[in-house]
Amino acid sequence: MSAFWYYVFTLVFFLFDYFILAMGLNIQYGETGILNFAYIGFVAIGAYVTGAVSLPNSVGTGQHYILGWGLPFPVNLLIGGLTASAFAVIVALISLRRLRTDYLAMVLISLSLVLYDICNNFVPLFNGADGLYNVPEPMAKALHLNTNSFIWFFALVAGGISLIMWFVMSRITRSPLGRTLRAIRDDEVVAAALGKNVFRYQLTSMLIGSFYAGIGGGLLIQFGGSFNPTAWLPGETFVVFAVIIVGGVGNNWGLLIGALVVEVLLVHLPTFLPAIPGHAGLIEYIDAMLIGVLLMVMLWFRPQGLVPERLRRSPAEETTSRSTLDDFDLTEFESKIAAQSRVDSDEAGGRHEPA
């Protein structure tokens, strides 16, 4: 396989992987309004656990890690996802109930840094700064795949998995549950006043979103065969936020496009460029800066993202008796006034949904 196709399939894999990651953060942030600044931590848990569970017992491998049960794909992937979920429940129980947005964000980012610190330093856990490597490629032996063919094979596997996960997420966001989550996002006081147990819904959202994070992370370690702390500095959470904000919150097509623009074009394509001699890593630094700048530009000029949130229309009218108040003039009159003041004030002055 030529280098070109190798690159292409690598990019295709990352497109699907980040699509999954975006869906996970989207149900937490886009649908429910939870600023999960520790998202990358859950991705890492998924990656580490998926890897550690599929590696054989650590004795004699030269690495140090827990678990080491030698489980095959996709069992290890599921365990990775579920572990991330379980962790999210604990985090939510401790912090979600008690804190409003800013403080929750502070605690979560602290959690992310601490997790990073521990994984980086505590070697017996996941091999410390070296991270896990030599993670067996799923099904490679069974299907007699070499390095090259594995790349496109697994890119397709990732595609398949992301399709299933997209289908599941779609059902959720289109359901009354999705609507209640969005209500909580828009105004949790009102949601509570309407009888919704806000904490339970936030917990559900964290659970599902973190499962997606774990799966996304698990796929990463299965594709690359290794995973170490440099792959998940807390700032990586921001990349996933960028995917959602650039692409468009609350819309799965938007997430895919966001993944394409941010992840593939901005993050991975440049790594295929030759490094500038004398300035190691400069391209990566500029890359990261560009993502930050792009995000601010998007938030300012097009906060709803490239693909805005779908308007969910009412079902087709069934003919029933119509009340005379239907054509109440006052309502229409007021609508015209409202429309005029909207034109006057323009988006900058108005309230916004987090899109």
Binding site: V168, R171, I172, S175, P176, L177, R179, T180, R182, A183, R185, D186, D187, V189, V190, A191, A192, A193, L194, G195, K196, N197, V198, T204, E309, L311, R312, R313, S314, P315, E318, T320, R322, S323, L325, D326, D327, F328, L330, T331, E332, E334, S335, I337, A338, A339, R342, G350, R351, E353, P354, A355
Partner: protein
Amino acid sequence: MSPLDETTTSAPLPEVALRCEGITKSFQGVSAVTGATFDVPKSQITALIGPNGAGKTTLVNILSGSMKCDGGTEFIGDVEVTNKESYEIARLGLMRTFQLSRELGGLTVLENLLVAPKHQAGESLLNIFFRPGKMKSVERANVQRALEILRTYGLYKLRDNRARELSGGQKKLLEISRAVMASPTIMLLDEPMAGVNPALIDRIGGYILDLKSQGVTLLMVEHNLNVVEKICDHVIVLAEGRTLATGRLEELRANEEVVKAYLGEVIDVNTAR
């Protein structure tokens, strides 16, 4: 003929839908509520009036559960609900509206109403994936009902508009219709007529009377004594954080304490010069 011209009568010895006793609340040493005690009679329209700063909105917040009180008790029927969470109180049938309308901006008008019903089948993951038929039928029924309510409140044409695009008056109507969708037994309305044009006041008054005839208990915080006079059966006066007096408006007008507390505070169209 405006709906507000209907006369109202109070039923003899009504049941009590909502009761509070000795509610107190202070913020950083400043007392907002110093002892609120009253009964809200069932299926009647009760007004909660009082000068600004008397603690009315704080009390509404406490009664609906969005704020916790420092002392006192609250009962809905026979059930004690003191300091229960707002969602628990809402599930017991008490709905409230907000003084400044809080619409769920990103959702459509119809979706705003669809959030209201309790225990929707489609809110459970199990039902979404394993009982989609049940989810759909419950949803269909809710949509039908929501559309009916929207028709009644004149918001049908706006059903697919995002709630944030509505005018102030429309948002008020949305606020009320959303609470109605939740099939409340008690409604706490925080200044439902505030900031609306006179024609809409008439209309909202009509809706409130309709709700009363359906058996809903209504407690409304209101400054407009004209409205209070026309539709309310019972009045509670709050001043300086405590219950000053209760009774019918005519009796209270003669009450010296009430008049003193109110001097220069409220719009009273009948006696204004």
